[in-house]
């Protein structure tokens, strides 16, 4: 675990450095718009750059940013004139609410669905499921988001953006919960529909492999009931590959919804990162990338821990 944690830290350092270099070396910067304004002199632009340390060499700026990250500030937003952390955390919380709920729902639907397809392979349930997941896979996330937005606009059943209605904070708790649920429905539906096909197909494949394995066949031949064979033999055997996929799901919690948030107007990291990229607000982008990478590394570490817990062969090799 210690070695993996060290690898994770090195990976994060590499990601932050690479992101910094790519953003710094790409053509253009935050001050280009100021330069285009004839009423702002070049000296004024240079003074503003110096005020925020943007005239320093790249290594110095990178290490200053690292120091800021260590203090929990994650740098300074040139666009919003405040520490990046004060912008980041509320948005990250909103994103995690959305993606956490979507991930939970997607797995709760996909596991039994994929298992049923495996148990009924070749039958009409399996074929219908394959057709549906193929259709969902073929639809791009952008189109899915836009279709749901169209549904909201045409029917009025759901709000077309935002996280809560005006004056919702003055309503009773049940009404606030209902209001939040209505606002969550469309973005959660978009994320669930987008991630379901992969999890369903993965579950189906893993269960088929497990059900076809010799020790499961031996268990059936020994007269062990089907339900026990499924839950005590096949499902634990299929879990290994599902745990790895689950680790990636956790790893994508901050990044999977960026596009959907922009399309459906959810006030999460997505719109913030998009605005920051367009404005070349470099430290906001860096912080979002590093935070997403933390989740990716953490998700893989979690998957490793779960694999260690689930499979005694891995525990034996490790010891």
């Amino acid at each position: 675990m210690a070695r993996r944690t060290l690898h994770g830290l090195l990976l994060l350092a590499g990601v932050s450095l690479l992101t910094f270099l790519l953003l710094s070396l790409a053509p253009g910067n935050f001050y280009d718009e100021l330069r285009l304004n004839p009423q702002i002199s070049p000296d004024t632009v240079a003074a503003i750059k110096a005020q925020y340390g943007m005239d320093r060499p790249l290594p110095a700026r990178y290490f200053l940013w690292l120091a800021s990250m260590a203090r929990g500030q994650f740098g300074y937003s040139l666009e919003y004139h405040q520490s990046v952390s004060s912008l980041l955390w509320p948005r990250a919380r909103n994103t995690l609410l959305l993606t956490g709920l979507a991930t939970l729902l997607a797995w709760m639907i996909a596991l039994p669905w994929g298992t049923l397809e495996a148990l009924r392979r070749g039958g009409w349930i399996d074929r219908a499921g394959a057709a549906l997941t193929a259709a969902l896979l073929a639809i791009p996330d952008v189109l899915l988001g836009l279709l749901l937005l169209l549904l909201a606009a045409k029917t009025g059943w759901f709000p077309a953006g935002g996280m809560s209605s005006l004056n919702a904070d003055q309503a009773s708790l049940p009404l606030r919960v209902w209001d939040a649920a209505r606002h969550l429905f469309l973005p959660v539906a978009a994320l669930v529909l987008g991630s379901l096909p992969v999890i369903v197909r993965h579950t189906r494949s893993a269960m088929i492999l497990a059900l076809d394995s010799p020790f499961v066949q031996a268990a059936r031949a020994h007269g062990i009931p089907s339900a026990r064979v499924l839950w005590r033999y096949a499902f634990p055997a299929a879990l290994n590959s599902l745990i790895s996929l689950f680790g990636f799901s956790i790893g994508g919690l901050l990044s999977m919804s960026l596009l959907i948030e922009v399309i459906l107007g959810w006030p999460g990291l997505g719109p913030l990162v998009l605005e920051a990229m367009l404005a070349r607000d470099i430290y906001v982008v860096m912080a979002a990338v590093v935070l997403s990478s933390v989740f990716l590394v953490g998700g893989n570490l979690l998957a490793d821990l779960l694999l260690y817990w689930n499979d005694p062969r891995i525990r034996q090799v490790s010891s």
Binding site: R220, H222, G223, P312
Partner: protein, 278 residues
């Protein structure tokens, strides 16, 4: 371990009989529909009386393992009957089927793959006891496990280990012990010795011969090794391309195996039809 003595049976009443069993595999493609069929078993008939050993010998792909899998209901044949104690297994209700599967146990060639790698040996052996309710209390189960291990010449120290921590010979003994835990009447040994080295083969073969005597078991011994068939069997049925082509007594001193084509059975029956084992 307590021995169940089988009641005396008339010589003509087989314990297990397979009648005109046919199994075909069909390749299916969502684009091309049903593909060509492969006939794994073609009107196979044989009988196994109580207390006897019938070897089924043949090269790879002749249908021996398919036959074994059909008998323990892992495969559903297209036609035919599998009669056990007079009942057709293919028409039994699930509760009766479970009772029958307790009495007919299959031992696989690859013991490493046939044992759940995540289970400890104790769990592997306890599972049939729990399912078939063969021992009422935990104490009885524990005592039974100790007896089981002694009967296959293993020690209690192995109970805490997992299958991949054991040698091939130890794993095969555990597989035999697991089969014995169900107090079977028939053991189907599907190339159960093929994956072992010669020395271990001899040890396991001797164990099986001893168990046959002490526990009054009947064996359906599937092999491509004619020498092993001669050692074990009262009769040998030779298979090729899914059919029984010859049945006869084993000839002592025969060598070779049907895998390489170096062996052959003597004195085929005149009609080439299946004859019951006596």
């Amino acid at each position: 371990m307590s021995v169940e003595v089988q009641p005396a049976r008339p010589a003509s009443a087989p314990l297990l009989a397979v009648r005109e069993l046919t199994l075909r595999y069909r390749r299916q493609s969502p684009l091309r529909g049903d593909g060509p069929q492969v006939t794994a078993l073609d009107n196979v008939s044989l009988e196994l009386p109580a207390g006897k050993t019938l070897a089924v010998a043949g090269p790879s792909g002749c249908g021996k393992s398919s036959l074994a899998r059909c008998i323990v209901l892992l495969e559903k044949p297209d036609s035919g009957q599998i009669l056990y104690g007079g009942d057709d297994l293919l028409t039994l209700a699930s509760r009766e089927r479970r009772r029958v599967l307790r009495e007919v146990q299959l031992i696989f060639q690859d013991s490493a793959a046939a044992l759940n790698p995540a289970f400890r040996i104790e769990e592997v052996l306890e599972e049939p006891l729990l399912i078939h309710k063969s021992a009422a209390s935990a104490k009885e189960r524990r005592e039974f496990l100790h007896e089981l291990l002694r009967s296959v010449e293993l020690t209690d120290k192995l109970l805490a280990r997992r299958p991949l921590e054991l040698s091939g010979g130890q794993r095969q003994r555990v597989a035999i012990a697991r089969a014995l835990a169900c107090r079977p009447k028939i053991l189907i040994l599907d190339e159960a010795l093929s994956a072992l080295d010669l020395s271990t083969q001899g040890q396991i073969a001797n164990l099986l011969l001893d168990l046959r005597e002490t526990q009054n078991l009947s064996y359906l011994f599937i092999t491509h090794d004619l020498a092993m068939a001669a050692l074990f069997a009262d009769h040998v049925a030779e298979m090729a391309a899914g059919r029984i082509i010859r049945v006869g007594p084993p000839q002592k001193g025969v060598t070779g195996n049907l895998q390489s084509g170096s062996g052959a059975l003597p004195s085929p029956s005149p009609s080439g039809q299946t004859v019951p084992v006596r």
